[in-house]
């Protein structure tokens, strides 16, 4: 009858590689994720929905074809399409590798862009030649209607078929503020949430406006991620405090959750409310809040991989990368997952932890 058109790019048979605090590696089907969560833990996910942030159109002064990718919110202007960051490409589309994309015509402040039903002005060149502050013009309702009608999800050359909005919304997606999907969240469906709870873990969300992961400009890419606004509800802070007080772990679903929680705890205690995560997380970072991270598989050298170095030393990370390679784990946003637990100060609960590792061993057989 009514066809559900193309199948979802999210594989049902996705895999999970677990790097435990002691450096042990365990392979499991990703559907078994809840079994690596313990009573008293809190699992925190990013509930941002993804914008159709790619807009094709014309640079009016030159008549040249362009693609605009909305890329980030300005400080205190989350959700404000009348003033936001954007990356501009020349003609072509996602099928060309980002680093091979044509440059846009030389842009100048005041340049007018026609993007389907939307009109925009380049307000400022932030990092030439590609990153600009863009002003989309019109009333708020009309702007969102235009974006909904004309925008397409940002995607990259490794995914050949055009993505629809439902492909890039995680099951828990709510506030549409992300420019690319908080993709670790693809691993968590509503059944997972239910079984986490049945295991005695708490479930909480925050909203973090994940920005673009690549712009094709090496200098700009080196500075990514751009500052990303986030919001943490008081209830989420309470759930985390409760878990920590009981010796439970804080498990972040995705690097954006790590960025938000660690930024909100910069001055010590975790604070609820709005913030802008602008810190770099890497080997030198001392994590204050997050104990474990579920994320995709990332290549050494990428900013995502750098973040993993806050969780584990280079040796176990190398072993993890080798295992991913050896067992054909799939990379990218719709690929497989890893769960990394950082070493903790020894606690009284050591025996519990030993038992858990014994159980994980059973999985690998």
């Amino acid at each position: 009858m009514i066809a559900a058109s193309a199948p979802s790019p999210r594989p049902a048979d996705a895999k999970l590689l677990v790097l435990s605090a002691s450096g042990g590696l365990t392979q499991a089907p990703r559907a078994a994720l809840p079994q690596f969560v313990r009573q008293g833990d809190v699992v925190v996910a990013n509930d941002a929905a993804t914008l159709p942030a790619s807009l094709v159109g014309v640079h009016q002064r030159s008549g040249a074809a362009i693609e605009v990718r909305l890329a980030g919110w300005l400080r205190n202007r989350v959700g404000d399409l009348t003033r936001c960051l954007a990356v501009v490409f020349g003609s072509g589309d996602y099928r060309t590798r980002t680093e091979d994309r044509a440059l846009p015509p030389a842009l100048a402040a005041g340049d007018r862009l026609r993007l389907g039903p939307l009109s925009a002005t380049v307000v400022e060149l932030r990092t030439p030649p590609r990153l600009v502050v863009l002003a989309l013009e019109g009333e708020r309702d009309a702007l969102w209607a235009g974006l909904a009608q004309h925008g397409r999800p940002v995607q990259y050359a490794h995914m050949r078929e055009p993505l629809a909005l439902w492909d890039v919304w995680t099951p828990i997606a709510g506030p549409p503020v992300a420019f690319e999907p908080p993709s670790a969240g693809f691993a968590v469906d509503w059944r997972t949430v239910a079984s986490l709870r049945r295991r005695g873990a708490a479930w909480a969300t925050l909203t973090h406006a994940a920005g673009l992961s690549a712009t094709g400009d090496p200098d700009l890419d080196a500075s990514l991620p751009l500052p990303e606004p986030y919001f943490i509800a008081p209830r989420t802070v309470r759930a985390i405090s409760r878990a920590s007080a009981r010796g439970g772990r804080v498990i972040a679903i995705g690097t954006t959750v790590v960025r938000a929680l660690e930024h909100a705890a910069t001055s010590g205690a975790l604070r609820a409310g709005h913030g802008v995560a602008d810190q770099k997380i890497g080997a030198a970072t001392t994590l204050r809040v997050v104990d474990a991270l579920l994320t995709g598989t990332h290549e050494a050298g990428s900013s995502h991989f750098e973040l993993l170095r806050a969780f584990a030393d280079d040796e176990p990370l190398r072993a993890m990368s080798d295992a991913l390679e050896a067992h054909d784990y799939k990379t990218h946003e719709f690929g497989d997952s890893v769960l990394i637990e950082r070493p903790r100060q020894p606690r009284g609960a050591r025996r519990v932890s030993d038992r858990r590792e014994a159980r994980q061993e059973e999985y690998s057989r």
Partner: protein, 244 residues
């Protein structure tokens, strides 16, 4: 529940209503606006959407819930414009082929179209907005889905095959949603509003005497009170859970 109390429950509630430019949907937009709710309504005709948005001060979204490709566009606009969603009213509905006819004379395509609008539309929109609804419920603002059902989904009326079957399925789906979403404290209800003096009723039964039919604004008032009560119960459930 007293009117005043009900009004305050819906003040600033973020409500999405489909089929908001005529009949019961339009009456609900007006009623819930009066109770202080913030509303985004959906309807197919962009011109009508603009008119009603202007008249009521609600956000208007042009879209067709029967089209899969429109669902996430609607969800995107609704959650962006309202800053979240506490209540979804799946009111948009189609009769199927008119004049009404026996199933034996119903084209498969017409049956499918009725299911797409009356069953799959509410399913898809609920799913697309579930993240927002569950988040709202967790934060103590409540989360409620109200599906508009029909007596024709309960009683077998000759000539109402496509519509009746779709509404029966909608009612059953609502009960299953409610069972499954209970742990997220999102409540799902399916309500039969009764025979009303609406354009859709006139299309189905052109000879009916309007004087014998309920006024949509009266039904909307009753549904407003029901929504306030459901929202209040969803909220108190969340408070209890958070205190544990």
């Amino acid at each position: 529940m007293a009117r005043n109390q009900a009004s305050s429950t819906l003040r600033d509630a973020r409500v999405v209503i489909t089929g908001g430019t005529s009949g019961l949907g339009l009456a609900l937009v007006r009623e819930l606006r009066e109770r202080g709710a913030r509303i985004a309504f959906v309807a197919r005709n962009a011109e009508r959407v603009r008119e009603v948005a202007q008249r009521t001060g609600a956000h208007g979204i042009a879209g067709d819930v029967a089209r899969k490709s429109d669902i996430h566009r609607i969800a995107l606009q609704a959650s962006a414009l309202l800053g979240g969603v506490d209540v979804l009213v799946n009111n948009a509905s189609t009769l199927g082929p008119v004049p009404l006819r026996p199933l034996a004379d119903t084209e498969c395509e017409d049956f499918e179209a009725a299911l797409a609008a009356n069953l799959l539309g509410p399913f898809r929109l609920t799913k697309a907005l579930l993240g927002s609804l569950a988040s709202s419920a967790r934060e103590g603002r409540g989360g409620v889905v109200l599906n508009i059902g029909s007596d024709a989904g309960v009683t077998a009326y000759a000539g109402w095959g496509a519509y009746g079957a779709s509404k029966a399925a909608l009612a059953h789906m609502s009960r299953i949603w409610d069972e499954e979403l209970a742990e997220h404290r999102v409540r799902v209800r399916c309500v039969d509003p009764g025979d009303m003096d609406t354009p859709m009723h006139a299309l189905a039964l052109p000879d009916a005497d309007p004087a014998t039919l309920a006024r949509p604004e009266n039904v909307a008032r009753t549904l407003g009170t029901l929504l306030a009560s459901e929202l209040a119960q969803s909220r108190s459930g969340a408070m209890l859970a958070d205190a544990s």
